[in-house]
C-alpha cells in the first residue's frame, strides 16, 4: 500500500476531531481512533511504493514510512498524556494535521511541494492549538509563530527556486551560496535556532504544550529532511565555493547548541526548559546543513528521527508532570520522581535517548555530524558542548530526588487503581446499565489519570530509547535514498528544461499506485 491512505486517514481524522470539538470526550476518543488508524495505515505502507497524483509521485521511502509510524505512535501517546490536562482532543487533532504535513513532505521528490506541506501542517497545528484555549488566548504569540513559519517557508521556497534555472549549467557559486544560505536560514528559523528563537519563546503558553513538540520538533525535522535531500544535489557539487555561507550556518549551529543548553538550564518553568532543550538539539541538526556531503546524509536523517522522538517524549514528560502535580514550576516540584517513579524512569530514559551512550547509533550519528562539520580542537569543544544539556536534565533530576514538596505529595498516583464499587454490578435495564457503564468509566478514568499519563510517558520514553539504540530499522531507513532517487519517481512538470516545454499532466487524473521494482535499496525492518 502507498502512503496515500495514511495521508487520508490523518486528514479525515483531524477534520472529524475539529468538527466534534464541542463534545470533548467524543472528540478525544475519535482522535485516538484516528491515530490508531494512522498507525495501521503507516504499518501497511509498502516501502518504496509510489502513488501518482496529477502525474507527480509520492514515494513511500523506508525513512518516510518509519517516521510516520513512529510519530503516529507518539501522537497517540501525546493525546493520552494531554487528556489529564483536558486538551486531549485538540492535541490529537494537531498531531493529525502535522502528520499529514510530515507524510506529504517526506514522500514528495519536489522540494517546494515538501516545503509547502510542512508550512500547511504547521499552520494547521497552530490553528488547532488556538481552539484549545477558551480563555484569553495568547494571540500575539500565535501570530508571531505563524509569521515565523510562513517566513521560513517563503525564504526556503525562493532559495530552492533560485538555482532551478541553473540545472545543467555550471552554476555561479555566489548564486548557489545565496540559495543555500536562504534554505539553511529557513530551517534554522523553523527550528527556532538562537538567535532566531524569539517567536517560540512564548509558544508553550499559547498552545497546548504537547503541540510544542509538533511545531518545534516534528515539522522542522521534516523540513530539514527536505532541505538535506535538496542540498545533496545542486549545492553539494560546489561545496568548496560556499565557504562563507557555511561558516555562518556553523556559527548559528554552535550558538544554538551552547546557548540553548544554558537557556534550558536557567529555566524554572519545565515547559520553557523543554522548549530550550529542543532548540539545543536542533543545533546538532543544523550541523547537518553544514556538511554538504551526501555521505553524511544518513547520520543527519537518523539524528532528525531521534530528535523528533526524544523531544516528543520530553514534552510528554512535562505534560504528565503538570497534569500529575498541578504545576510546572520546578522549585515546587521537589520530590516529583519519588512520588511518581514511572515518570522518574521515563525522564531518565529521555535523557539517555537525547545524549546516547557509547556504541549507540544515536551517539555515533551525533559525533559524525560534529566530526564532518568541524575540524581540529573546535571539534572536541563541540563534542563537550553536546553534553551541556545534561546540566538541565541533571537539575530536574536532582529536584525530583529531593524531599517531597507539597505539589509532589498531593500529586496523582501513578499506580493503577480500581473504584471501590462498580455501578454496573447493581444496574438493571439497558438504559441503567448504559448510564452505570459511563459512570464506571468516568470513575476508572478519574482514579487512573496519573497512571495513564505516566504510562504513556514511559512508553514514549522507551520508544525514544529504542530509536536511539537503532531499533525498528532506524539507521538503515535513514541510510536509504530520498524520494527523488527512485528511477520510477521521475519529476513532473515542476522543473521543465526550457520555458517552451509544455506541462505534461498525467494521463490519469486520479491517483495510481505503483510498487517500485525491488523496493528501496535499504528497506528498513518492519517495527
Amino acid at each position: 500500500m502507498s502512503i496515500l491512505p495514511f495521508c487520508l486517514a490523518a486528514l479525515a481524522g483531524g477534520a472529524l476531531v475539529v468538527g466534534l470539538r464541542a463534545r470533548p470526550a467524543a472528540a478525544w476518543l475519535v482522535g485516538l481512533a484516528a491515530l490508531l488508524l494512522a498507525i495501521g495505515a503507516g504499518l501497511s505502507i509498502a516501502p518504496g511504493s509510489i502513488v501518482r497524483i496529477g502525474g507527480m509521485p509520492l514515494v513511500a521511502t523506508p525513512y518516510a514510512r518509519l517516521l510516520v509510524i513512529v510519530l503516529s505512535i507518539d501522537g497517540l501517546l501525546l493525546g493520552l498524556t494531554a487528556a489529564a490536562t483536558g486538551g486531549g482532543a485538540i492535541v490529537a487533532a494537531g498531531a493529525l494535521a502535522a502528520l499529514l504535513g510530515v507524510g506529504f513532505a517526506l514522500a514528495t521528490p519536489d522540494p517546494t511541494a515538501g516545503i509547502w506541506a510542512v508550512l500547511g501542517g504547521s499552520v494547521a497545528a497552530l490553528a488547532v492549538g488556538l481552539l484549545g484555549d477558551r480563555g484569553s488566548a495568547r494571540l500575539a504569540a500565535v501570530t508571531a509563530s505563524l509569521k515565523a513559519v510562513a517566513l521560513a517557508a517563503a525564504v526556503a521556497t525562493i532559495g530552492v527556486a533560485i538555482v532551478a534555472p541553473l540545472s545543467g549549467t555550471s552554476p555561479d557559486s555566489a548564486i548557489v551560496g545565496l540559495a543555500y544560505l536562504g534554505v539553511a536560514l529557513a530551517v534554522a528559523l523553523r527550528f527556532a535556532a538562537i538567535p532566531l528563537h524569539a517567536w517560540a519563546s512564548r509558544l508553550g503558553d499559547a498552545i497546548p504544550l504537547p503541540l510544542v513538540a509538533v511545531v518545534l520538533a516534528w515539522l522542522p525535522a521534516a523540513l530539514a529532511s527536505v532541505a538535506l535531500d535538496w542540498l545533496a544535489g545542486p549545492v553539494a557539487s560546489i561545496a568548496p565555493g560556499v565557504g562563507i555561507e557555511r561558516a555562518l550556518v556553523l556559527a548559528l549551529a554552535l550558538a544554538t547548541i551552547g546557548l540553548g543548553a544554558v537557556a534550558a538550564w536557567i529555566q524554572d518553568d519545565v515547559a520553557h526548559a523543554t522548549a530550550y532543550l529542543t532548540i539545543a538539539d536542533a543545533g546538532v541538526a543544523l550541523l547537518a546543513l553544514v556538511i554538504l556531503d551526501p555521505a553524511g546524509l544518513a547520520s543527519a536523517r537518523f539524528w532528525l528521527l531521534g530528535l523528533a522522538v526524544s523531544k516528543t517524549a520530553l514534552v510528554a514528560w512535562a505534560v504528565a508532570a503538570e497534569g500529575t502535580f498541578g504545576t510546572r514550576w520546578l522549585p515546587d516540584l521537589s520530590g516529583w520522581a519519588r512520588r511518581s517513579p514511572a515518570l522518574g524512569i521515563a525522564f531518565a530514559l529521555v535523557a539517555l535517548a537525547t545524549v546516547g551512550w557509547p556504541g549507540s547509533p544515536l551517539l555515533d550519528a551525533r559525533l559524525e555530524l560534529v566530526d564532518r562539520s568541524v575540524e581540529g580542537p573546535l571539534a572536541w569543544l563541540v563534542r563537550l558542548g553536546l553534553l551541556a544539556v545534561l546540566a538541565s536534565y541533571g537539575r530536574i533530576a536532582i529536584v525530583g530526588l529531593g524531599p517531597l514538596g507539597a505539589a509532589a505529595a498531593g500529586g496523582l498516583r501513578s499506580r493503577p487503581e480500581r473504584p471501590p464499587s462498580w455501578a454496573l454490578s447493581t444496574a438493571t435495564g439497558a438504559r441503567d446499565r448504559l448510564t452505570a457503564a459511563r459512570a464506571d468509566g468516568r470513575a476508572v478514568w478519574d482514579l487512573n489519570q496519573g497512571a495513564v499519563t505516566a504510562g504513556a510517558t514511559l512508553v514514549a520514553a522507551i520508544l525514544a530509547t529504542a530509536i536511539a539504540a537503532g531499533a525498528l530499522g532506524g539507521p538503515s531507513a535513514a541510510a536509504g535514498e530520498g524520494p527523488g532517487a527512485s528511477p520510477s519517481a521521475s519529476a513532473g512538470p515542476s522543473a521543465p528544461a526550457s520555458p517552451s516545454e509544455p506541462a505534461s499532466p498525467s494521463a490519469s487524473a486520479g491517483p495510481t499506485t505503483t510498487a517500485s521494482p525491488g523496493g528501496s535499496p535499504a528497506a528498513g525492518a518492519s517495527p
Binding site: M56, L58, F104, L139, L146, A154, I162, A164
Partner: protein, 202 residues
Amino acid sequence: MSPWLVALAVVVVTGGVLSVSARDGKLATVGLLAVLALAPLVASPLPDVVAASARVVAAALATYLVGIPLRSAPPTRGSRIGWPAEALAASAGFVAGVTVGGFGAPGLGPAAGVGAGLALIALAVAPLAETRDLLRQGLGLFLLVTGAELVRSGLAGTPSALEALALAGVVVALGAAVALLATRSVATTGDLEIPRAERPER
C-alpha cells in the same frame, strides 16, 4: 513576455494593494480573493485545469473564512502609510522582479511572475511588521506566501499539480488560522487589535 500575463500580474498586485490599504474588511477580502485566485494563473505554461481549480476553490474558501469574523468587526486602521505609498512600493518590487527575471540565467517561468511576487512581498512587509492589527497581519501572511509562490513559478516554472495541492492546503489552513485569530480578538476586545496586555514590548 505575454501582455496577458503582465496584465494578470498587474491585477494581482492591484488586489494586493487593495487588501493591505482598505479600512473596510470586506474590501480587503475582495483584494485578497483577487490575489489568491489569480496568482496561480500568472505562469507559463498555465497550470492544468484541476490544479488551477483547486487553487481557486481554496482561495474562495480562505477568503470566506477570513470574512466571517469581519462581519461583526469595526473597520481597521488600514495602511499606516496610505495606498499611494503601498502602490509605489509594489511598483518598485514589480519593476525589480521583471528586470531581474532570474539569477545567472533567465527564469523558467514568466518574469511578470517574479515581478508580481516581489511586489506582493514588498506589500507584505508593513503588515507583517505590525504587532496590533490582526487582520493586517493575517493579510500580510497571505501576501508573503503568495509572493513567494509567484517568485518560485517565475524562476522555476509552473508548479506541479502536487505542489498546487499543497499550496491549496496552505491557503485554507491560513484562512482558518486568521479567521480563528480574528474571531478570538473580536470576542475578547470587540475589535481586531491584540489586547494591550498581550502586545510585545518594543
